[in-house]
């Protein structure tokens, strides 16, 4: 990271004495000014709150603002300081110990719901399973987006996570979204604790149980129409090289890097979740599977894995903004179609009715011919 220029710090100080603090994590003046504005709005809201959490501090808004700025300067994510993050149109709570929802995930989920909401042959009840749900952002956003466009279909959504904290937060977020008046979501949303990685045929530990046992125990259906997952996908080496300091220092490693296994190398560890997720999708007889990935290389590896289990009619790769027009075809093999703009972000697989839901009638044929 290049050093901040003294001139820039001085200039920032003349604008606001707190700006140099915020420049440390933000690096650009415009971003720092935005964050300072949001922090100030947050403090104003706290001061006006009817039930103050810390009465003494909230009577001194300046001191409070300074404390928050210092906290931010240490690298703590703004989302943890403010306690919320926007995910699509929803504003969700987030707290240390649970991964902050990312805008790229929101873009993929919104695009998927846009594709499906116009589909002709939807079942009367659409079931969506989200593995590694974290704050519960994906089921809540899908519910909101889909229900605001189609009110004639029932939705059943289930989020699964290994972390107690995440499940608790997801339940609180569900209550928060239901309180929010503009929310269109009316689906049946639930969150359960389960370990996606544990082998149902191996030794059973009940804390947390494997996915199948958890579904059984919570009286949830085995079969799901759509399986979405944003699993940990960062390799240990990338964790130390490409993640930002604020991610490393404050967000849970559990949600970022898959657990190590003896004999696994770096990339194998990064891809550790995907075979399990694909197996879970096969067992759930999912028509559509959307898996988030780190980059184009991992996307190709996951797409190849998906093709190897030979149940999908079509596989494609989505970029950060799948709703935008395609970028120029740089570094793209003809094997899998790549849509949108930005970094490769997710892998979409479908089979059977899923093709008509997504409106991908023709794509099915071409992918079959490439396989043959």
């Amino acid at each position: 990271m290049p050093r901040l220029a003294i001139a820039l710090l001085r200039h920032a100080y003349t604008i606001d004495p707190l700006l140099p603090l915020l420049l440390r994590p933000c690096r650009t003046l415009a971003a720092a000014q935005n964050e300072l504005r949001w922090l100030r709005e947050h403090v104003d809201k706290l001061v006006q709150a009817r039930r103050p959490v810390n009465r003494k501090l909230q009577q001194q808004p300046k001191a409070l603002l300074r404390r928050l700025a210092v906290e931010r300067a240490s690298g703590k994510p703004l989302q943890y300081i403010l306690g919320t993050e926007f995910f699509g149109e929803l504003e969700l709570r987030c707290q240390p110990g649970v991964l902050i929802p990312r805008p790229e995930t929101a873009a993929s989920v919104t695009h998927l719901s846009h594709l499906i909401q116009n589909a002709p042959a939807l079942p009367s009840e659409l079931r969506v399973l989200d593995l590694c749900t974290g704050t519960g952002c994906i089921p809540l956003l899908f519910d909101h987006d889909f229900s605001s466009a189609r009110s004639d279909r029932r939705l059943q959504l289930l989020g699964v996570d290994i972390s107690d904290k995440a499940i608790g937060l997801a339940h609180r977020n569900l209550a928060r979204v239901r309180r929010w008046k503009a929310s269109a979501g009316r689906g049946d949303v639930d969150f359960i604790l389960a370990d996606v990685l544990s082998n149902p045929f191996g030794d059973q530990t009940l804390d947390p149980p494997c996915l199948k046992a958890a579904l059984n125990f919570n009286k949830k259906p085995y079969f799901w129409d759509i399986v979405i997952a944003n699993p940990p996908y960062i390799s240990p080496s990338a964790y130390w090289s490409t993640t930002t300091r604020s991610v490393r220092g404050f967000e849970p490693k559990l949600a970022l890097v898959p657990p190590p296994r003896p004999g696994n190398n770096d990339t194998e560890q990064a891809d550790y979740f995907y075979p399990r997720l694909l197996t879970a999708a096969r067992d759930a007889e999912a028509k559509i599977v959307l898996l988030e990935v780190a980059d184009l290389d991992q996307a190709m590896r996951v797409a190849t894995m998906a093709r190897r289990i030979a149940i999908f009619d079509g596989i494609e790769i989505w970029r950060d903004q799948p709703d935008q027009r395609n970028e120029s075809a740089v570094g793209i093999s003809a094997e899998f179609p790549v849509r949108g703009q930005g970094n490769a972000r997710s892998v979409l697989c479908w089979r059977g009715l899923g093709a008509t839901w997504l409106g991908r009638g023709r794509a099915t044929k071409t992918s079959r011919t490439t396989r043959a």
Binding site: A30, F86, R102, T242, V247, E292, N343
Partner: protein, 416 residues
């Protein structure tokens, strides 16, 4: 006896010149040619190709703009088809006539047919040329006519009043709804019979602008005025200003979906950019950057918004801002166009007798339009807004269209 008589020079030159001058107006003479200029033909073919593509596109999904374009091309495509058909039948007939093996009876029949086919081809090519001429963008609108006296004092004011009555009579005869928005005589009152100082006539029927567009300009009168005591003929002028009345479509201002509205933006013309994290993105970073940038490609208008932490909210605000900015630009442009139109019709110094478009001569009972070169002699019928005025106006419209065709040919030729 070889000596010649002396002849004066003017008589000699008279002998060389033809006795009767050939009265031909070269510039304005209509030429009903059988052949369509190749540049225009190429343009028609290009339009037909585009028409086909648009039709295919519309078969897959509706698009307002494409549909409107398609409707505009319909006339050209049908005219081209007709022309092709006529051309083909003419070629067939001539080959039949020139073929020595064909039956003599058949050849005779073909020769009979040839004349009819020739005329139909001429008609078709005329249709094709006129269909290619772009319709004036405001031709479908109602219009406002402003009539003011020019040079010539009170005689000009009296003539301006005559013109107002003439146009009112014309509107009555054609069932155009016309209202006199303003009628002010030289005393500053609206009493009739006193010389006019300004009148604004609104013709509230659709496509009135297309009809009255040709009337704009300075109208010259040559007569012995009622105010003249010594019986001398005066030449005076009155100016007529014709403007499209655009007020109708400003009422739809807030309708985003209507392509006619100022606030309408074609979504395909806007590039949406979301500030995304440099590098890997996804789980690797937890940026708070929610800025959205919209670029309207045709006008290169850029709007960026980063007020809110929520990207969708930023996007919504940015769209709002872009809409109002473009609407503002469009309004300004339209106003500018109106000003330009006013100036082009009537410059400040251009209301003299010399810059006339038409002359009304009482002494010879004649009306001459100086643009089309048409002269009619039933002055009273013209002043009553009768059929003679129709023929004059039609002549001017035809002349305008020929001008447009020439401009089109020049434009097409310069493209290559």
């Amino acid at each position: 006896m070889n000596t010649m008589h002396w002849i004066c020079r003017s008589c000699l030159s008279r002998a060389i010149r033809p006795l009767f001058k050939l009265r031909v107006r070269w510039q304005t003479t209509a030429s009903a040619t059988e052949s369509v200029p190749p540049a225009l033909l190429a343009r028609a073919r290009a339009v037909a190709d585009e028409h086909k593509q648009l039709a295919e596109k519309l078969a897959n999904g509706f698009d307002t703009r494409a549909a409107k374009k398609l409707g505009g091309y319909g006339a050209i495509v049908s005219a081209l088809e007709e022309w092709d058909k006529a051309n083909e039948s003419l070629a067939e007939l001539t080959s039949l006539i020139h073929d020595p093996t064909s039956d003599p009876e058949l050849r005779e029949l073909a020769a009979d047919d040839l004349g009819a086919t020739r005329t139909s081809l001429a008609k078709a090519s005329q249709n094709l040329t006129t269909s290619l001429v772009p319709i004036h963008p405001f031709a479908h609108l109602p219009c406002l006519m402003e009539i003011r006296p020019g040079a010539g004092g009170s005689e000009a004011a009296i003539f301006a009043g005559d013109l107002v009555r003439m146009y009112q009579a014309y509107c009555n005869r054609h069932n155009y709804r016309s209202t006199l928005l303003k009628y002010e005589n030289i005393n500053g009152t609206s009493e009739a019979g006193v010389p006019l100082s300004e009148a604004v006539l609104e013709v509230n029927s659709a496509s009135a602008y297309g009809v009255f567009r040709c009337e704009a300009g300075v109208h010259r009168v040559q007569r012995v005025p009622a105010t003249e005591s010594k019986g001398r003929t005066h030449t005076s002028a009155a100016s007529v200003l014709v403007l499209p009345s655009l007020e109708e479509n400003t009422s739809l201002e807030n309708d985003f979906e209507d392509p006619e509205s100022d606030y309408y933006i074609d979504v395909n013309e806007v590039k949406v950019e979301v500030m995304r994290a440099k590098g890997a993105g996804g789980q690797h970073v937890n940026t708070t950057d929610s800025a959205v940038r919209l670029t309207h490609i045709p006008t290169n208008t850029v709007v960026s918004m980063q007020d809110s932490r929520s990207q969708p909210k930023n996007k919504e605000k940015a769209w709002q801002l872009l809409r109002s900015r473009l609407a503002q630009a469009r309004r300004e442009k339209r106003e500018e166009e109106m000003v330009a139109l006013r100036r082009s019709v009537l410059g400040v110094a251009k209301t003299g007798r010399g810059d006339k478009v038409r002359t009304y001569n009482w002494g010879q009972q004649r009306v001459t339009d100086h643009r089309s070169g048409a002269t009619v002699h039933d002055l009273d019928d013209v002043m009553d807004g009768g059929q003679t005025l129709d023929t004059v106006m039609e002549g001017v419209r035809r002349w305008l269209m020929e001008k447009d065709v020439e401009a089109l040919i020049a434009e097409e030729a310069s493209k290559k």
